[in-house]
Amino acid sequence: MRENAIIAKTANNDPAERRREVTRYADAIRLHALRMVMPQGFGYLGQALSSAEIFATLYRSAYRHNIDNLVCSPGHYIISVYAAEAAAGRLGPDDLCTYGQNDSRLEAIGTEKSPGVSLTCGSLGMGLSGALGLALADRLQGKTDAYTFAFISDGELEEGQVWEAALFAAHHKMNRLIVILDANNSQVDGPVDTITTIDPIAEKWRAFGWHAQDVDGHDVDRLEAALEASLDSDLPSIVIARTSTRMGLHCLPPDADGHFIKVPPELARDAIAELEGRLA
């Protein structure tokens, strides 16, 4: 069994207490993201809502900031990284309030300036290849301790480059590469499954030679267990996290477009109150 940091990362080993802590971290991500999109009244809030538990679990368990690589393939999700970095204390309110503003390094779609990640890509489908390059570099440089975590989205599975990278990773037994897929069934033109059938996702990756697990992406216990199993796999691993772009904000209207949520002032007030209430 490989060494990993999963348990050591959190102060408390009591399962219920750990669950509570990671869940609070996820809500902190939601609240930071909400505050980032509020000035404009719209933005990539749905991406933060769907990926909040994923990033919270990563940050509170498997991902070690100074050792591992973190790739955020879909640059539109960089809001979740900024929020997770803020929750970790590495970005402050002065940084977050510049999100999406002119001359800000916190651009709304991730760029070379984006803090918090080893790599992010605005043009979709490239991040897994970049993660492979980082993992290969670690292997060539003898950094045997480092893992590479690559966050990708379900819409990206429509890009052929993802499958080029999947073939390469399995052939080269890139066992320290762990992909977390946010399967929120959302892309610009509507639900992914109405545009392209990408299921069964896990079977596809298994057929490509990967260790694949399909879990509820808002269940932090399942996410943590899946990450732990991935750390110990001899194959490259993917955790397919089934999520919703509306998760964790009950005040959202039923017709909210999760891909690019509009947050008028009144809704923003309700949403802040809801999240602050849970975090109180």
């Binding site: 070379e112 080893s118 790599l119 890509c121 605005g122 043009s123 490239m126 290849s129 970049g130 993660a131 492979l132 390059g133 980082l134 290969l136 570099a137 670690d138 060539l140 440089q141 052929g160 480059q161 080029e164 990278a165 073939l167 390469f168 052939h171």
Partner: protein, 334 residues
């Protein structure tokens, strides 16, 4: 320069890269399933631990190369020029160009040097690479330049596109020729006409310049192996003394050498006539051999001579270009 027909050698690039990589542990060699064709079977045999076979997956190969460069490696990425530029353009821009990473993209088989048809003929690779900010673009003429270009580019801070002829590589320059990353090579100066060529078109350009000179039209000749950044100073000096200029490139006349010289003439206010030899906004075709395509698509010495003659306003008919007989293993312009 030597005289045509030129002797040739094989694998000057493969030898140069291997020699450099034996001194430099930061060099990686990536291939897109064209290992022997790109001369890097030499690298694969000698340094297998730094040889990465990416398979026929150019998009993944380019993005991986960019990430490897982020970690201090200098990846040399190999495939044919078409597959190195057309297919993974978005990856070159986002994974390599925009982050200014020192990836060396090596594209073999330029223009109509292959009879393999439009799918294999890189006729706009320079055009699209020129549009990538910070991309250095090199299109060398002979084996000696290849040997010098490889160590010359290794430590450039940003990305490089190196365009190389495949197979038998001519030796056009005499011993001691120096490839200079920053300076155009002025072979003849002071002419009423001037020819500017890049890559393997130097053979035709040089033959044309000599024939024009003998026919009473003194002709300057500038070899421009580095298309970007362009040596505007040298070009302005030479072209400033000429009345007409003809560019010769194994590429579309749109976006490559001809366009670069047109931009220079206009921006520097040189006010001279320009003729552009190259593919005239067309695809080529498959054939039995490359010389047929050079002739058919107007990339011949005669075409350069005719164009310079016509633009110079000579009334008599242009001089005829004699064909140069070649033996097996020799190279001569068409």
């Amino acid at each position: 320069m030597r005289d045509a027909p030129y002797a040739t050698e094989t694998k000057p690039y493969g030898r140069a890269l291997l020699s450099l990589a034996q001194q430099r542990s930061d060099i990686l060699c990536l291939t897109g399933d064209l290992t022997r064709q790109c001369e890097i079977d030499l690298f694969q045999q000698a340094i297998p631990e730094r040889f990465i076979h990416a398979g026929m997956a150019e998009a993944n190969m380019m993005s991986m190369a960019g990430a490897l460069a982020r970690r201090g490696f200098i990846p040399f990425v190999h495939t044919f020029g078409v597959f190195a530029t057309r297919r993974p353009y978005d990856q070159i821009v986002n994974s390599i160009g925009y982050p200014k990473l020192p990836v060396r993209i090596v594209g073999f088989m330029p223009g109509v040097s292959t009879p393999g048809g439009p799918s294999h003929q890189a006729v706009e690779d320079i055009a699209i690479m020129r549009a990538v900010p910070g991309m250095t673009i090199i299109d060398v003429a002979d084996a000696q330049e290849i040997a010098q270009a490889v160590p010359a580019i290794v430590d450039l801070p940003g990305p490089v596109y190196l365009r190389l002829k495949r197979g038998e590589i001519p030796l056009m320059f005499k011993e001691g020729h120096r490839f200079d990353l920053h300076k155009a090579d002025v072979i003849y100066d002071g002419g009423e006409a001037a020819i500017v060529s890049s890559g393997m078109m130097l053979a035709s350009a040089r033959q044309a310049a000599e024939i024009l000179h003998e026919a009473g039209l003194p002709c300057s000749l500038v070899h421009l192996p580095v298309l970007k950044p362009i040596d505007a100073k040298t070009l302005c000096e030479v072209l400033g003394r000429a009345r007409v200029v003809v560019t010769a490139e194994n590429h579309s006349v749109i976006g490559g050498l001809g366009s670069a010289i047109a931009e220079l003439i206009a921006e520097e206010g040189l006010g001279i006539r320009l003729g552009r030899i190259g593919l005239q906004d067309t695809y080529a075709e498959g054939s039995l051999n490359a010389p047929h395509l050079f002739m058919k698509y107007g990339l011949s010495t005669q075409k350069i001579v005719d164009t310079a003659w016509r633009l110079s306003g000579r009334s008599a008919s242009a001089p005829n270009v004699p064909s140069i007989p070649v033996q097996a293993g020799e190279y001569a312009p068409v």
